[in-house]
Subunit: 305 residues, 2 copies
């Protein structure tokens, strides 16, 4: 099966700790890399994850807090040093280009490639990216500033060839792509071989949703209903629920409630507050509400399904 | 003896590797922390080095290349989140405030403290900082843009009390600070006890010089003559000498020549190019020219003498 897996580059929150980098992830969809948020150090963690810069063309920024985007200038400069020529697309709520553009230009007098900024209104869901493998839709969140999650929905792949059947009907190689796409095969003597004899169903498309940063927002569950994997911020433990509400963050228990309401396949928590000496307290709290929960950790690579 | 020691936060160059962070160091002078350059991830490494943000009041930036200053926005924001109130002083060649100021302001709408920018002309040596423990003087370097090294010169400390002598002469406690400062003691009956009977010499003041980034520049040796420890960039191996010259960097062998000409106590090399799988080749090259050479490494803490 082609890749649809998540690399965690950082899963801490704004204050640095000795254990976590600020937020950044990379979703590998069939060997195309999609970066989600780009906290300080993201490019270093990207290298440590043995990912290839040349496969990274799209970066999605949830909101304009530093712990979600301060890694951009370094990454952009590195790609320039490497002599990249392909456009780099950056998707974000309104305002990113205005605040980062002058800095990027100062530090990259001669750019070998172009940055294409795609700014969106974080207040409503919109499909901000689409190719033949995947669509990316924004998920409106509630934070102290405009903020969006992202829903990555894989498109159905091609049907799988039944090797014995195509051999039996002597299907020529140049017909295989049409057959994978669902067409029947016509033999030289005019017989129609129906596609269902030659192929099996494509893999079930996979889905991944990223929700950070946000106050507890039950409406989010509607939009991420049934996804294979949900990353939801779990900045605080329940005992710090008041602080969570004040700062428009979510507790681990609330994140698990969202996962349960949405009936997701798996919950991944992260964006841990620096106040906890260990993240176990957050994981344990979530597990009580939603058993299929996992705690994100730096450099983990997690297949979405 | 009071502290005068160097913490290496990062010693790589512009391209990230799995082994090195971009450049940042912290010199601890008698428990005051002076940051030298602030590459991406400096605040994370600062925490890992178990240093205290509250003791950091002065940051010295050598030049406006990203790998020497992209850690500033994150560090500034973290200090703000922590509710810092003390001024933060940032010393740099001309231009830093203009390029970083708007970004810092956008991401820190309410600042709990003030950043005081001290910009200098990198073309000539100047004392840019002085307190009762140390002076910091710029060292003009030759790079692709205005760039300065920094010479940290400790001021002489107080003389050391000879415990048996002050007991013998029954010197009262409130006289000790004057005596440490070099004054004689007058007994109640008017006898003058010369200071040399009561004290020994203060520790010899220590010196540390930081030179990065720079083309091989023999004139630098004049200014760093006899320092206890010299950090000199050694981006390339001798075999890549042409590339070093083109990019205004130094080879490991050239760095060691500067150390030898200057007669320094010890040479510390760093700012390693990403092209080498190991830094041993650079260390070995320098050792042949200047035996007391050490290779910088992340999170090392090196007493200057």
């Amino acid at each position: 099966m082609e890749k649809f897996e998540l690399h965690i580059l950082g899963c801490g929150s704004a204050l640095p700790t000795t254990r976590h980098f600020p937020t950044s992830q990379v979703l590998n969809v069939r060997d195309k890399l999609f970066m989600i948020d780009c906290g300080e150090g993201a490019q270093l963690q990207f290298r440590k994850s043995r990912l290839k810069f040349s496969r990274l063309n799209h970066i999605f920024i949830s909101h304009l807090h530093g712990d979600h985007c301060f890694g951009l200038p370094g990454l952009v400069s590195t790609l320039n040093l490497l002599g990249r020529t392909a456009d780099l697309h950056v998707y974000s709520p309104t305002g990113l280009q205005k605040v980062f553009g002058p800095l990027m230009e100062f530090f990259n007098r001669q750019m070998s490639y172009q940055i294409i900024y795609h700014e969106f209104d974080a207040g409503k869901p919109a499909t901000v990216y689409e190719d033949r493998s995947v669509t990316v839709t924004t998920i409106p969140l509630r934070h102290r500033m405009p903020c969006s999650g992202f829903l990555f929905a894989e498109k159905p792949g091609l049907r799988h060839i039944v090797r014995t059947a195509v051999d039996f009907y002597k299907v020529p190689v140049y017909e295989l792509n049409r057959i994978k796409a669902g067409y029947d095969y016509e033999t030289p003597d005019g017989t129609i071989v129906p596609n269902r004899l030659l192929t099996t169903s494509p893999d079930v498309p996979r889905t991944y949703a990223y929700c950070s940063d946000t106050a507890y927002t039950p409406a989010v569950a509607e939009q991420v209903k049934g996804v294979d994997m949900l990353f939801h911020e779990a900045t605080f433990a329940g005992v710090d629920g008041t602080r969570a509400a004040e700062t428009f963050h979510t507790t681990a228990g609330q994140a698990a409630q969202i996962a349960r309401m949405a009936g997701v396949g798996r919950l991944l928590i992260g964006h841990y507050s620096a106040r906890y000496d260990t993240d176990d307290v957050l994981l344990e709290e979530a597990l009580k509400v939603f058993p299929n929960t996992q705690a994100a950790n730096e450099l983990a690579c997690i297949p979405v399904r």
